[in-house]
């Protein structure tokens, strides 16, 4: 009887450890639903999801890199470059070739980051910190410090497609999360990504090609940053040289809030979606309650530290059981 109770408790702690972010989210949704009549409406929630999608798409790529045991600080700058190219090249080569060029810039920069990390043995924090500074430089060189405007506003209509309450942008985010969850669990690359992140020496001894997986994951991360940038350029109709500044930090916050570990080897897209939505709900809910901007920033910081502490407590309890 006690053994059963203990096992149930263990299983509950285990479930909580993996899913605490959804509990956080449910709590936030419940509180804001009671506090504001405008929160729990289809219209508002659909908006929240669309707003969450940009950081969300960055977070999907970041999750791949983080499970691999690395970090990518350059996603905000990559997003800005893709968005600038997608708008800036339109007069010269047409809308879709420009969009494709923007996408390719993300793929190329991601591959460059991955290759540098793999070949040099430098910490990805350093490589992508360099990237964050340099890629922003590329954006400024390309745009000449100007915000680029589109000429034909049909471009901003492209993402205005809805499936029920879900915008195309939100759908792309959810589809990418589902796709890469499948990559993580259903493909050899995904399983070996976990293995490398968990224990790089053991993965090496097991014959896993560490460098290849790192390059692939950084390329995915860059490509997704470019997709987020292109969608942002469609939503705004302009590309600002400062777009996406410090978004890499919000992205890391969302992923870690979800429960994916910075140390690598542990996490999932499911957790990341939870983290992204929680961040977006907190922002939206606090704004609906007319709280000043600073409350949002303080709550975000506190929640992150709390989540970290909770993760520590739950992991310790599980270790003890």
């Amino acid at each position: 009887m006690t053994a059963l109770a203990a096992r149930t408790r263990g299983a509950a702690a285990d479930w909580l450890l993996r899913n605490h972010i959804w509990l956080f989210l449910a709590l936030a949704v419940a509180v804001f639903s009671m506090a504001s009549p405008y929160f729990l409406t289809v219209n508002n929630l659909s908006n929240v999801l669309t707003q969450a999608a940009f950081i969300g798409i960055l977070a999907v790529g970041m999750t791949m890199v983080m499970i691999n045991g690395e970090i990518d600080l350059s996603v905000g700058a990559t997003l800005a470059l893709a968005s600038a190219l997608a708008i800036g090249l339109q007069p010269a080569i047409g809308v879709w070739p420009a969009v494709f060029a923007g996408f390719l810039s993300g793929v190329a920069l991601g591959a460059l980051n991955g290759t540098l990390v793999a070949l040099s043995g430098m910490h990805s924090f350093i490589v992508t910190l360099g990237g964050l500074i340099g890629i922003r430089g590329l954006v400024f060189v390309y745009t000449g410090e100007q915000a680029l405007m589109i000429e034909d506003f049909a471009y901003t209509e492209i993402p205005e497609v809805y499936l029920g309450p879900l915008s195309l942008t939100a759908l792309i985010f959810l589809a990418l999360a589902a796709l890469f969850q499948w990559v993580l669990t259903g493909t050899r690359h995904g399983r070996e990504t976990y293995a490398v992140g968990d224990n790089i020496a053991a993965a090496h001894d097991a014959g896993i090609r560490i460098k290849r997986h790192k390059i692939i994951n950084f390329t995915i991360c860059g490509a997704l940053a470019a997709i987020a940038g292109i969608l942002l350029s469609m939503r705004l109709g302009t590309a600002e040289p400062n777009a996406g500044r410090i978004w890499e930090l919000w992205t890391i916050i969302a992923v870690v809030l979800g429960g994916t570990r910075l140390a690598g080897g542990y996490g999932s897209m499911w957790m990341t979606v939870g983290g992204v939505l929680t961040l977006a709900v907190l922002r939206n809910g606090l704004r609906l309650l007319n709280t000043p901007n600073y409350v949002e920033l303080m709550v975000m910081g506190s929640v992150l530290i709390l989540a970290l502490g909770l993760d520590r407590v739950l992991a310790a309890r599980k270790g003890a059981a």
Partner: protein, 317 residues
């Protein structure tokens, strides 16, 4: 006596590369290597540099401090605002205390509670931004009667022709270097960064050492905020945004390893100053200010890669 070239390159490669860079720019730009320009560059890097002195302690323990940019903003707002309330002496004292207190919060969370440094200081980045907006109500603050206060000395004064911020930065470097190299605390900082478990078993109070390193980082940021407030005589709510990354870039460029255990104040001074000379040299050569970012990218990657390659004797990992 034979010279071990590999050894020499490893130890002094950075300084050689720096010298080469200075020579190249000096050929292209008149007035680059004049005393006036060199002092100008040093003055420009004095704020980042002063912060970097403190962050070096944290990095040598094998940890990061991403909160210094937000902290710089908050403390600059405090020093400027309090100058109008309690006067310059009180404002400086309050700012130093606030810096120590914020550093202590970081220190407790990372050192004593052993939470992940990157995430904690990232959370503090957001939190301190919030505190700044709360404190200032979102508006810019200015020093009233900026013309007549002696507070101007920290950012605008000169002593024997040398700008005071440069004296603070270099004087701070001497003091910091002494503490990091010659004191028990400094050796503990190195030991914790080198091998935390071993240092705990050798009787070093690892948690307190890490916490103290964050307090040093907070103190350095407070000093930088005093320079900043005095220089600008005002503060916006975004004045320190992005400083955390420039500071880290300078420290990394100097060759201090992010893994902890190695690094020195003089490397940080050289790294930060190098970034300043890159910026200044490119501007003198007539490039737009953002070209320095591209060059910094290449220089950071090349410097760290070369350093690694020299250490392991192979270029590729």
């Amino acid at each position: 006596m034979t010279i071990d070239w590999q050894q020499a390159l490893r130890r002094h490669g950075l300084i050689a590369a720096f010298g080469l860079f200075l020579a190249v720019v000096a050929v292209g730009a008149d007035g680059f290597l004049t005393l006036g320009n060199i002092l100008d560059v040093l003055r420009q890097v004095s704020i980042t540099g002063t912060i970097a002195l403190g962050v070096t302690f944290v990095v040598v323990t094998g940890r990061l401090d991403l909160s210094v940019g937000s902290m710089l903003t908050l403390l600059t707002v405090i020093v400027v605002d309090q100058h109008n309330v309690v006067g310059p002496v009180g404002a400086v004292a309050l700012t130093l205390l606030a810096g120590l207190a914020i550093g202590a919060v970081n220190g407790v969370l990372v050192g004593l509670l052993r939470l992940n440094a990157l995430i904690v200081t990232l959370a503090m980045l957001s939190l301190l931004q919030g505190v700044t907006l709360w404190y200032s109500g979102g508006s810019n603050v200015n020093v009233a009667g900026a013309g007549e206060t002696w507070f101007a000395v920290f950012g605008r004064g000169t002593l024997f022709g040398v700008p005071v911020p440069v004296l603070i930065f270099l004087g701070g470097a001497v003091v910091a270097s002494f503490f990091l190299k010659r004191t028990e605390f400094g050796r503990a900082v190195h030991a914790v960064g080198g091998n935390e478990t071993a240092s705990r078993f050798s009787g070093i109070a690892t948690a307190r050492t890490v916490a103290a390193a964050y307090v040093v980082s907070g103190l350095a940021t407070a000093i930088a905020a005093i320079i900043m407030g005095s220089r600008v005589m005002g503060a916006q709510n975004t004045i320190g945004q992005g400083y955390e990354l420039t500071v880290l870039a300078g420290i990394i460029l100097g060759g201090t390893s992010l893994m902890g255990g190695s690094g020195s104040i003089w490397r940080t001074v050289i790294g930060i100053t190098m970034l300043g000379f890159i910026q200044n040299g490119l501007l003198l050569l007539g490039y737009e200010y953002y070209v320095q970012w591209l060059v910094s990218w290449v220089v950071i990657i090349a410097a760290v890669w070369l350093d690694l390659a020299a250490k392991r004797g192979r270029v590729l990992a």
